[in-house]
């Protein structure tokens, strides 16, 4: 696979790793947070931790949109799906997320709710066209990567004059999450670990560009290196971060230059701005209420907004008491530090956000790395 295989080359991985080992100064620790769930997954899947020196520690951030979806929002989706005549279309990633009363979308489906897994927002629109007598709702989740496709289908639905299609919008924003990690009221309770720099998300950045991270670099004096999706990209970004720290720099660097520019994708951004606006506040699982961190449909598109269309009311459901996701998402604790990790909370029976999706810190550690703790 061109532009894929070359970025997974084992020999190159070793040589980048050797450079990191040489650059990482003995006697100090480097903590870097990778924000994007895809990076967490790449690190686990390829065993990149084994290639890094002991004093370079990767901290997993809240970059998995499924993981940060609060229980209340899943409850709302389930309630929608149970209404007569409704077809709820969802990405497959959401179906096992545990909600209230021991339910999940998958369990609700087993009980008879018409819930269908789709690969793309366009599939949901197609189902609405094929079944005009059903109310088709698209359960939209994701960071800035997935938001433009949702914007497209809302506009398309309007063009086609569709009367049976709507979107249950749970799109969230990356920069707000990063800011919240660095500075929030919960920091006092949960503590915070000194994060020396960030590995910036790959595909979110293709849309928003590298420009939005400049604020963090300046304001908090933390380097940000945007990394591509492949394991060599991640390793290279770590090397670049180590060098920035050593040289006392706090800049935005772009390792993913083959797909990310400073401005990003102007067309996609314009589409999103046309269809969505900021919610004043939105609750994130594990992080609590975060201001200006999520999107909703603009008034102009109200008829396609499932929350308004179906008169849905917001629900706030607290996480399980034993769940340490809040601290884990901030990098203060590791999955193995959580009391219920690997026992009550496993990928098959997830209790909190970090275990829910394969990109979550706990799920990744359980699936790929728990042998390290067991040894």
């Amino acid at each position: 696979m061109k532009y894929v295989d070359e970025f997974r080359d084992g020999a190159l991985a070793k040589s980048i790793a050797a450079r990191i080992v040489r650059a990482a100064a003995a006697g100090r620790r480097y903590h870097f947070m990778e924000f994007c769930g895809g990076h967490t997954h790449a690190m686990s899947r390829y065993g990149l931790t084994d290639l890094l020196p002991r004093n370079v520690v990767m901290v997993h951030g809240p970059g998995c949109p499924v993981c940060v979806l609060p229980v209340g929002r899943i409850d709302m989706a389930i309630e929608l799906a149970r209404r007569a005549g409704v077809v709820l279309c969802t990405y497959a990633d959401c179906v096992r997320v545990p909600a209230s009363e021991g339910l999940s979308l998958m369990k609700a489906k087993a009980q008879g709710a018409d819930i269908r897994m789709v690969y793309s927002a366009a599939d949901a629109l197609r189902i609405a066209q094929e079944e005009p007598r059903r109310e088709v709702v698209f359960f939209a989740i994701g960071f800035e990567t997935t938001t433009p496709p949702t914007a497209l289908v809302v506009k398309r639905a309007a063009e086609l004059g569709m009367a049976n299609f709507s979107v249950f919008c749970n799109h969230v924003l990356t920069p707000s999450a990063i800011a919240h990690i660095l500075e929030s009221p919960e920091v006092r309770e949960l503590g915070s670990v000194a994060i020396d720099g960030f590995v910036g998300p790959a595909h979110v950045s293709t849309v928003i560009g590298s420009q939005p991270y400049e604020y963090f670099a300046e304001e908090y004096r933390k380097p940000v290196v945007i990394a591509g999706f492949e394991p060599l990209d991640v390793l290279q970004a770590v090397e670049m971060l180590v060098c920035q720290v050593n040289e006392g720099r706090a800049e935005v660097e772009n390792e993913f230059s083959r797909a990310v520019s400073r401005e990003g994708n102007a067309r996609a951004k314009a589409l999103v701005a046309e269809v969505f606006e900021l919610r004043r506040v939105f609750e994130w699982r594990g992080l609590g209420k975060v201001p200006y961190s999520a999107l909703k449909l603009k008034e102009r598109w109200a008829q396609f907004d499932a929350e308004r269309r179906f008169g849905m009311s917001e629900r706030s459901v607290p996480d399980h008491k034993a769940c340490e996701c809040g601290a884990i998402l901030r990098g203060v604790k590791r999955p193995a530090d959580c009391r219920v990790f690997g026992t009550a909370c496993t990928p098959a029976t997830p209790m909190g956000s970090c275990m829910v999706s394969s990109e979550g810190a706990c799920a990744a550690h359980y699936t790929y790395g728990r042998y390290r703790s067991a040894a």
């Binding site: 970025f7 690969y119 496709p149 999706f229 390792e255 230059s257 994708n265």
Partner: protein, 75 residues
Amino acid sequence: MCLAIPAKVVQLKEGDQALVDLAGVRKEVSLALVEGVRTGDYVIVHVGYALQKLDTREAEKTLALFAGLAAEETA
């Protein structure tokens, strides 16, 4: 969820659609979010949509960076 993959555009179709190819696997995706794409270009595909065109020159520069060959950093 975060997964996206670079694929080669092999055929442009009507309505902003295109056929992309990755090692012989073909998929129809939407080009509605990108501009100026031609057959032979590589695009990054995510949930059925092309998000961005791949800059092949930058890709080569990044590979050189991996090998420790680039004199300047890409920024």
